[in-house]
Symmetry: C2
Subunit: 256 residues, 2 copies
């Protein structure tokens, strides 16, 4: 399966996975099936709202995974709770008094089939595709929060989307980040300390990943401070753009 | 709802929640309903196998939560992936060469209804009940794994069970731990640095907990090294005992 875009949409008929087509979203029953099967329904673009393209049970992020010096450290990962997952356009709520909060644009790998103790030679077969993640992080909180629980776990702090792109080479994709129309970095997955497949080998040496689970591969570029009222756009060449507004915590939240 | 024991069982008719009765397991449709409703089916004890009493989407543990000195540190939590959850009697697999691995007997709180930014006055209403957790931890790995990802995240490293007990005072329960018939600690939730309700207030100041989510409140007693072939029993007065064998990783695993 190459070159598809697989979205998850909310529309008057419910919540469904679909492939992205010129005339709308063509519904599919199972995004993880070996051969995608359309059911004949196409939802016009204007009638649909994009959600996070998967509802993972496990979200793992890679820590310190930028540049050759990080390669000299042992690999290190962290977990984000599933309550952080939200979709394109959904608000990123910031609690008051939390100090500096950064957006981090990252390539996110979406797992296609059950993955345990992968090797470099079989890891690629376990990837359904890639999407864009914004790994929102409370930078100041990390000082008093050595396990990064509070720093990474606020509700809706992992926007994902806009869809899953299949058939791309994950190790050579340009990544961009914009806050309020200012470009803040130019980088790419080639700048990661460990390749996407190496990340999957490490993570699955510890835990089993299941279809729809997500691995954030690390931010190869600079992160950018965000504040209430900001609009953040994370972009990956060949995938698209993930745009989210930043709001105060008590603003109404959308459900992913 | 007071004084019930709510289990989750696998039996010839499927996987269901049930209350524990003298003559077997009385099936219920929804363990989170305000009034439990039995459907009239009672599964004889010999026909059922106990599973982890919930299938959480989020599992949070409290770090350094023992004794008055820990109270002087800011609260600190960590996440365990849902793939760590397993049931009574299920094996705890140890990878080879992992060094010292400890069992930690802890009170686990099971959330009954959606919980966001709880306060000390409303937190208790959001608790369905309590169960026993074994927060298996790779002690040596923690040295090179500052975020505790590998140290806490191996598959089936959070046995839960044997059931959820409702109507207990969570702040005054004796906790015991046995490895191979040797008693290794005598402690209780009264020895925690922060009370169960204080833990919930802290965790929900960051993320929203949903029905079935689990908070491990910290190990108030000594932890105990386990090795392949050990049998571990964690016990909480008024709840029961959670027993698990320790196996090598490649032994067959049961699904929670």
């Amino acid at each position: 399966m190459t070159g598809r875009r697989i979205a998850r949409i909310a529309h008057p008929g419910g919540v469904h996975h679909a492939t992205v087509e010129p005339d709308g979203y063509a519904l599919i029953a199972d995004p993880f099936a070996k051969h995608l099967r359309h059911n004949g329904i196409v939802v016009p673009t204007r009638d649909a709202r994009l959600l996070a393209p998967v509802a993972p049970r496990t979200v793992v992020g890679m820590a310190h995974n930028t540049g050759p010096t990080d390669r000299q450290l042992p690999p290190q990962a962290f977990l984000k709770p599933v309550t952080t997952v939200t979709g394109p356009g959904a608000p990123i709520p910031l609690p008051t008094g939390i100090g500096r909060v950064d957006a981090e644009a990252e390539l996110a790998v979406v797992i296609g089939c059950t993955a345990t103790r992968l090797t470099l030679s079989n890891a690629a077969e376990h990837i359904l595709g890639v999407t864009i993640a914004n790994d929102v992080t409370a930078r100041d909180l990390q000082q008093s929060d050595p396990l990064w629980f509070a720093a990474k776990s606020f509700d809706a702090w992992t926007p994902l989307g806009p869809w899953i792109a299949t058939g791309l080479d994950p190790d050579d994709l340009a990544i961009g980040l914009q806050v309020d129309d200012v470009d803040l970095q130019a980088a790419g997955t080639a700048d990661l300390a460990r390749s996407v497949l190496e990340c999957l080998v490490y993570v699955t040496s510890v835990l089993t990943l299941h279809p729809g689970d997500v691995v954030l591969t690390g931010a190869p570029g600079a992160s950018a401070a965000i504040t209430v009222g900001s609009t953040v756009v994370a972009a990956i060449a060949g995938v698209g753009e993930l745009q989210n507004p930043v709001t105060a915590t008590d603003d109404q939240r959308e459900v992913a």
